[in-house]
Subunit: 643 residues, 2 copies
């Protein structure tokens, strides 16, 4: 690897050479891989060449430095360009670029992911890098109080995603003058021209209307780029984000493809690559770095992952509870959504890294309690669930433990963002309230009936579904230190407390609430259906049928030990009841676990919401769906009839 | 029920009385139900009173008339207002309004759904009614060639959803001057003031920047409203959609709640309702109707559901194939995504109601073939998957069979829209290409690994996953007449044809590709893993292990008969391999079916993508994930070892 020549104050003549090198390396790396997006890289090469040499304040030897600026390439398919930049600053070798790009087991993936230490978030699903950047900028402006800037390189095509406008709306609402967006307006998308082409005025009007300062530049004029980036850095008094609209040419620098359709996502064949490299002036091997950030106090260094270690482990009580955790009595009715709010306030008191977000339903999810207690750590995302997940992702990048909440049904709005956050490997803490038909009168649009399936299928996720206040409080606490996506499903109605304050609820565990020496059948529930299972067990008990009842509060990971023991004890007879569609939820989790554990001889009755609900009372709808106590008891009777 | 007095040309003095009646009825219905949103209804009562009496061209006795204007209440929580309108035009009775609203088994649900014949689409997940309206307007402008208008009532809070801006972008791109959006800017959201409050200028700038004509009015001045609606109807030469920004007061007409926080989604207690009704001037019982549409030719009447009956059933060949269906030979390599494009072109030739949409990846999904063949029936949605589903929904409302395509991974972006389309009960035909790790070098952001779980959990869905060209062509044909959501998963790479042209592939069926009198184990695959199963069976055969191989091309509904027969024949030993996460996909579908059929004694090896992939070749990644032939064979050996 070339010895690093650290340089600052690079002149534009050298930057021009660097830009040519970035183009050449983009061509070489994609041709060597046989796939990739050289032309999308070439349009933005001048932009990044100026940025990294003269404006981005970044310590390439310490990518975790809290003082660093952030660079997010929202148009993730320009990975050849980004990796060529990494080579140019001396952190990726020529060999890695030429033999590692897009290869199996290598870190220079087709689209950037944080397996690379200089990448904050995975991009490649368009329209997400900017929303993520808003989250990082929110941390910088509102929490860290540090002067780092967040630079986001967007493609023009991705400006068709509504999430971009959610992002700019929040960026201006929160006065994120530390956010600088550079749009590579190269006019050509994957399969044809973009909606707006080179109509830069239209982009200016849109970005301006959403509260941004705007500048239009020739994205291949280095001096213009330099001036725009300097202007973006300079005038931040107005508190507005900056959007620089750079008119560029796709494939810039190689006349055979410049501004031509049909070259998106196509590497050049070797002979063509040779001609491109020749036209670009041949190989170069510059190693240049730009300005370094000002040092910041060590206290600003974020822990990775999100710190919630403010209180040492020894301060927990016997049940693992931390001081201030809300206490609920057995039998007292409390909605789990209320317990979520209470527990979040308690967490917030312990750890200043805990922050909360909500999508304008905070009085329903009870995030309102946190917003009132710690207004400076609460971020209203209004009705923009995609941006809410992206903001939580960006906050996680900066080491915050962000808890975000909305109705369970509305997390479907942000599914792609949740999926990408999992690829980014950030810790994301989501709560979905108003789960299932239990909500009653509001009707199907408000009923979360697919959320468990969605969340279980996300890589590395944890899915929790408590049935009372005590377990909710314990699980919220557990989420604070959970890696990856953790999802908590809460219920609208208030149901009796089942567990004494202080009881422990390990993730991956379950509770046997009722059992005997000779149980006939196992009833598995979670959330509202657990209460129905308990009532069913009462009914069955009166008929001489002994039912074991399991609170499956941890759906992923699931308590295979307790479930298999119950299956074995009750001759494989299990009723699972869930306020969710039959596919992919609690029933699937239970069945998958039992089969994976090698259990055969199962007789499973799976009660779930199999038809389209309407309005009604919660009780009417639980009965209609066939998931209330009487249906659970009936299913148990059928299973035990042949006993 | 009151005898209907059909009126047109209602004077504004009478409209004022009607507006008061709508407020009173909104108060009464929500108080009687004990839930609902009276204040959100009261802010928009003047707007709808003017619209329905003087501008909306609608034959209330014939809601399916193709000549009718469309009215979509995007702020679906204003259901008391909409239902009060239905009473006022004489299609809902006083009794139904007062005893049916939000009650179990009734059609006046908490948020409107098409169980009511005057409701086009379900609303209640905010930011969706306008995008759906864009789809309806697209049909009117580009396909039907009819002069109906699409009126959409939006809340101001929902303008925070990015989907609103995707919608306006497409509305202006397609010159939808037949789309008129009325925004009820009442300043207050659910849990506090909206982002922009009464900053109507900001909304004007935004809507204008996205290509709309705009008007700002006092939303309680009937003459101003009337003038604005007339202006919206009048000047359509510019081809722009119209956005009317109406400044309103939440709770208007009842001084105790007017413009006050804390009254969102709260019915008034009975004593308060009495005071409200008194202040509003007491009960009224006006029955008024507005203008009727011009009659249109009978040929314009859309079939319900989407017509694809242009060719009579008798014209199919023995395999149920329609003329023009593409033919692929056994053994010839063809990518199923390519077969999708071919089959769609064939369908398009048969039936002018078939239309296609894509999210700017049409050269990858092969929707490009349709776009080239029938450019007038292809709608480019650019990179806006939410709008793509909404447009397909709106097109379905007008009787078109819309096929929409993007990468499987990117359907997660539109999950909430897919969920709501299912509640709307429309037929939605989605294709997701580039499924699974098989895509290789592009990396995890582009790999659809959660789509089967997502689509299976949607109410009433059909999930298809063909492995070759012949089966793909047959299933695309089947989708054309399928009610509800149908989803087709396609694969990037080309694999050998397995079936002769003309073979039938009933939805809910499967194919046994290999079987013998004494099979030891069953291998279940779909798409790319079916090819791996076939290779595995070859390997196993050479070792004396006889494997039955099942092509599970229909994942929902699934072929329980063939699967249980195979389980019975192979002593419950089944290997399922899928290029998808382990949760909620093919494996779940197979296991659920076997357990629901009462099969016990199962020994199932479930091979799926259990870790986070990176880049690589398709073959490398199938091996890495443990879902290629050698892993399938190894799993089969383990299952049969104890035989």
């Amino acid at each position: 690897m070339t010895t690093t020549a650290v340089t600052t104050g690079t002149g534009l003549d050298v930057v021009a050479e660097l830009a040519a090198q970035l183009r050449v390396d983009s061509v070489r790396s994609s041709t060597s891989a046989g796939s990739g997006h050289p032309t999308s890289s070439m349009s933005a090469a001048d932009l990044l060449a100026v940025l990294v040499t003269r404006h981005l304040r970044y310590d390439w030897d310490d990518p975790r430095s809290p003082a660093n600026d952030h660079l997010i390439v929202s148009k993730g398919h320009a990975s050849p360009l980004l990796y060529s930049v990494f080579k140019a600053v001396g952190v990726v070798s020529e060999q890695e670029l030429m033999t590692g790009y897009r290869r199996f087991g290598q870190r220079l993936q087709g689209h950037p992911t944080p397996v690379l230490p200089w990448v904050d978030v995975a991009t490649g699903s368009l329209g997400q890098g900017l929303p993520d950047g808003v989250g990082v900028a929110l941390a910088g402006k509102c929490l860290d109080g540090l002067p780092y800037r967040v630079w986001v390189l967007c493609g023009d095509g991705e400006l068709a995603e509504g999430s971009i406008w959610e992002a700019l709306d929040k960026a201006s609402h929160y006065n994120l003058s530390n956010l600088i967006v550079i749009v590579d307006v190269n006019r050509l998308g994957q399969s044809g021209p973009t909606d707006l082409g080179w109509n830069l005025d239209a982009y200016v009007r849109r970005a301006g209307a959403f509260g941004a300062r705007t500048l239009v530049i020739d994205g291949h004029d280095l001096a213009e780029i330099d001036g725009a980036l300097a202007a973006a850095e300079g005038d931040t008094a107005g508190g507005q984000p900056m959007v620089i609209l750079a008119k560029t040419v796709k494939g810039r620098g190689f006349s055979e493809v410049e501004n031509k359709e049909g070259w998106h996502g196509r590497p050049f064949p070797p002979d063509m690559a040779e001609r491109a490299i020749a036209e670009l002036g041949g190989l170069r091997n510059l190693v240049l770095r730009g300005p370094r950030p000002q040092p910041v106090p060590a206290s600003h260094r974020p822990a990775a992952p999100a710190s919630t270690g403010a209180a040492p482990p020894g301060s927990a009580d016997a049940g693992g509870r931390m001081p201030g955790t809300p206490r609920y009595a057995v039998g007292d009715k409390v909605a789990t959504r209320k317990a979520y709010g209470d527990a979040l306030v308690a967490l917030g008191a312990r750890d200043p890294k805990v922050v909360a977000l909500d999508g304008e339903v905070k009085n329903s999810t009870f995030a309102l309690e946190f917003a009132r207690a710690y207004p400076e750590r609460y971020f209203e995302m209004f009705i923009a669930e995609q941006q809410m997940v992206a903001a939580a992702t960006g906050l996680a990048v900066r080491g915050y433990a962000a808890f975000a909440s909305t109705f369970a049904a509305f997390w479907t709005r942000a599914h792609d963002f949740i999926r990408m956050a999992a690829i980014s490997g950030v810790s994301l803490r989501l709560t979905g309230s108003h789960a299932g038909v239990e909500i009653g009168a509001d009707g199907p649009s408000q009923m979360g009936l697919e959320d468990l399936a969605m969340m279980r299928a996300v890589h590395g996720s944890t899915v929790l579904y408590p049935a009372d206040g005590t377990s909710t409080a314990a699980l919220v606490q557990a989420m604070a230190v959970m890696p990856g996506l953790s999802y908590l499903r809460t219920t609208r109605g208030a149901y009796p407390g089942l567990y004494p304050a202080g009881e422990a609820f390990p993730v991956g565990g379950s509770k046997v609430l009722r059992s005997g020496a000779h149980d006939d059948v196992t009833l598995v529930g979670a959330g509202v259906t657990l209460h129905e299972c308990l009532r069913a067990a009462e009914m069955l008990g009166a008929e001489g049928i002994s039912a074991r009842v399991i609170d499956c509060y941890s759906i992923k990971p699931i308590d295979t030990t307790i479930l298999t023991a119950a299956a074995d004890a009750t001759s494989g007879r299990i009723v699972v009841a869930e306020d969710h569609r039959p596919e992919g939820g609690l029933g699937s989790a239970v069945i998958d676990a039992l089969l994976a554990a090698g259990r055969s001889g199962l007789s499973i009755a799976h009660l779930a919401v199999r038809d389209l609900p309407g309005s009604g009372s919660g009780r009417e709808l639980l009965a209609w769906a066939g998931i209330d106590a009487s249906h659970i008891a009936a299913a148990a009777r059928r299973l035990t009839a042949g006993q």
